[in-house]
Amino acid sequence: MFRILKKSLKTGVVTGQHPAAAPLEETSTSEAKEKARPFRSSLAFRAVDTGSCNACEMEMNALANPVYDIERFGIHIAASPRHADALVVTGPVTVNMEHALKDVYQQTPDPKIVIALGDCAINCGVFKGSYAVTGPVDRHIPVDVRIPGCPPRPVNILNALQELRKGSDKG
């Protein structure tokens, strides 16, 4: 017990100790922002890997570590699509995952936001053209937000999610 307390005191606050984000191009359109209006104070997302190399997954997991601590912005990771407001889809949509992706989309309640995370989800990346790849994601389900990068840094994902919920210029 004493060890644990000492460790916690010694460590202090680490949240926010990361380099600033590189400015990305516009990731979400004003329509997407309008769609995200109900989720401004709380957003639960479900991650769907459709053939990613696992790097995007690691960066999403990093969002939950104490340095980024995504929960303090009201963003949660949902365990089931039925609890989700948004789907974060990674990977180039493999032939074997195509039906699973469509199922998940069906199972997510409306209104919902689809976020394509990483280059593979946006344009199939290095796997483009393969016999086993049917993507990108927007060939199968409508995509609202695109976060580029191979993989995108956690801070960029965080910023994109924040920007999405900031509201459009109209108000």
Binding site: D49, T50, G51, N54, E57, M58, P66, A100, V126, F127
Partner: protein, 530 residues
């Protein structure tokens, strides 16, 4: 070398019909074997106490259009000397059958099913010929790695259902899990059969993330395919790109400069560190002990930020290239790396005491998910999982690559094969990696970090390469095509060897312990599915 000769002679005496290919004498012994002799000779290699051969890799090559023949190659690592023996055979003129070795070498199970799916060659006598990579909806008679299969053509679907092995009886239930899981992890399907709490059977149904990586390699040139290798399994960027580069370098007869080799070792250890730190935390988290998870997540983040600062990529992408590395480090950067190591090591040692002294955690980890040494050996398990089950193997020591011939590695070994042993292996390896980083800084020679390739690879020449990544042995077999293209690239992530073993490790455990056992293996889906 003399020991290798001894094996060679013994094999030739026992099987007079095999022919030794003298060209390959340096790296491994190579024998051409008539296909009917395969079961006998592999059995001999595997069971003879003086040889004690472990099936390390099994791959096929479509040799068309040059010759209408398929090549089959079996790589064994021999017990004490860790030397390699490759057996090759050829299926010519419409022959699509080869004898299965699975009945006496269990580790060949998935390799032979994979060859059947990808090449349409039938392993005769294989106990389980269900599909592996191509799920049942793939049309009949389509085999992607055949040379006449178009790389960019997505096929239609047919009706089909995967048949799981069934246990029937009163009170036996099946629990399906996946392919999409509750946490942020990759897709895979697990089918449990339980009676009451304990798991009676687990069957894996994977390959959801099959992206056609090996076929994509064949569309690339030898020197340009490094970015693809980096993305075979994203968490093992350095491991995969290094194994790929080494194979190509031996095809192009490139000698990587010493400084380049040292830097490769340095980056490989950094990759091992951030992954092991993440795993230690995640294992604790799966017992609902969140505190070490938070601390480990913080330390892992520190190393990934360090990676980013040094190379511009948190995953160390773009570091390796054919001929060496892209990035050289300054004296100041090296000092920063070592300072960071000292800092994190102190931090981690304090956390380690917290973890080890928690009795309720130990209670969850001990005797959970036991993989016995015998089962591990039968499955030819590699890497962290193998070392936790008493298999004393580590390529950094056994077949030194990069700069490990000048950096002796203390190989961690535990015997119990439970989750606790697997977390202990990782903890000890974290300290060893940090020690290696310090040693690399002291020994780092001056000079260039890369050389340009000057020669061309001869078509149909092939090379093997092996790297001890953070999960375990990563193997690449690269065969050159015409004009610097790739004719065939066989990729073997350690996960492919280790996944089947998890089916044995969970037996008798309860389903709530499965996430914990799975985490302690922490295998890649992307690297397995290719």
């Amino acid at each position: 070398m003399t020991e290798t000769r001894f094996y060679d002679e013994e094999l030739k005496v026992a099987f007079p019909l095999i022919v030794q290919d003298e060209a390959a004498k340096g790296e491994f012994s190579h024998f051409l074997v008539p296909k009917d002799l395969l079961p006998a000779i592999t059995h001999h290699l595997h069971t003879q106490p003086s040889l004690h051969g472990r099936l390390t890799l099994l791959w096929a090559v479509d040799n068309r259009p040059i010759r209408d023949a398929y090549g089959l190659h079996y790589l064994f690592t021999l017990g004490a000397s860790r030397s390699w023996v490759v057996l090759s055979t050829e299926l010519a003129e419409g022959d699509r059958l080869f004898p299965s070795i699975t009945p006496h070498i269990h580790a060949a199970m998935w390799y032979e099913r994979e060859i059947r799916d990808m090449f349409g060659l039938i392993p005769q006598g294989h106990p389980d010929l269900r599909r592996l990579v191509r799920h049942e909806h793939w049309p009949k008679g389509t085999h992607p790695l055949k040379k006449n299969f178009p790389w960019d053509h997505v096929l239609g679907r047919q009706q089909g259902e995967h048949h799981f092995r069934r246990i029937e009886g009163e009170g036996v239930f099946e629990v399906p899990v996946g392919p999409i899981h509750a946490g942020i992890i990759e897709p895979g399907h697990f089918r449990f059969s339980v009676a009451g709490e304990p798991i009676m059977q687990l069957e894996l149904h994977h390959f959801w993330t099959h992206r056609g990586v090996e076929k994509l390699f064949e569309q690339q040139t030898l020197t340009a395919a490094v970015p693809l290798a980096e993305r075979v399994s994203g968490d093992t960027t350095i491991g995969h790109s290094l194994a790929y580069c080494q194979a190509v370098e031996s095809l192009l007869h490139i000698e990587v400069p010493r400084r380049g080799r040292y830097l490769r070792s340095l980056f490989l250890e950094l990759e091992r560190l951030h992954n092991h730190l993440g795993d230690v935390g995640a294992i604790c988290n799966d017992t609902a002990y969140a505190l070490p998870h938070a601390h480990c997540g913080r330390m892992k983040e520190q190393i990934m930020q360090l990676n980013d600062k040094l190379t511009g990529s948190r995953f160390l992408r773009g570091v390796n290239r054919v001929g060496g590395v892209e990035i050289d480090l300054t004296v100041a950067q090296l000092a920063e790396v070592v300072a960071e190591m000292d800092h994190i090591e102190k931090d981690f040692s304090e956390l380690e005491l917290i973890i080890i002294h928690n009795a309720s955690l130990t209670d969850r980890l001990e005797t959970t998910g036991v993989l016995t040494e015998r089962t591990a050996w039968d499955h030819a398990v590699v890497g962290v999982v193998g070392r936790a089950s008493g298999l004393d193997q580590d390529l950094r020591r056994d077949r030194p690559f990069a700069a490990y011939d000048e950096l002796p590695v203390k190989v961690v070994n535990y015997r119990y094969g439970d989750v606790r042993a697997r977390i202990r292996v990782r903890m000890d390896e974290i300290h060893e990696s940090m020690r290696l980083v310090r040693e690399i800084r002291l020994k780092l020679p001056q000079g260039p970090v890369a050389v340009e390739p000057s020669r061309r690879a001869q078509a149909r020449e092939w090379a093997l390469s092996a790297v001890e990544g953070w999960r375990g042995e990563i193997l690449y077999m690269v065969m050159a095509g015409e004009n610097g293209t790739i004719h065939r690239c066989k990729v073997r992530d350690p996960s492919f060897a280790n996944w089947p073993a998890i089916q044995q490790a969970v037996l008798g455990n309860i389903i709530p312990d499965f996430p914990l056992i799975n985490k302690s293996f922490n295998l890649s889906y992307a690297g397995n599915d290719l």
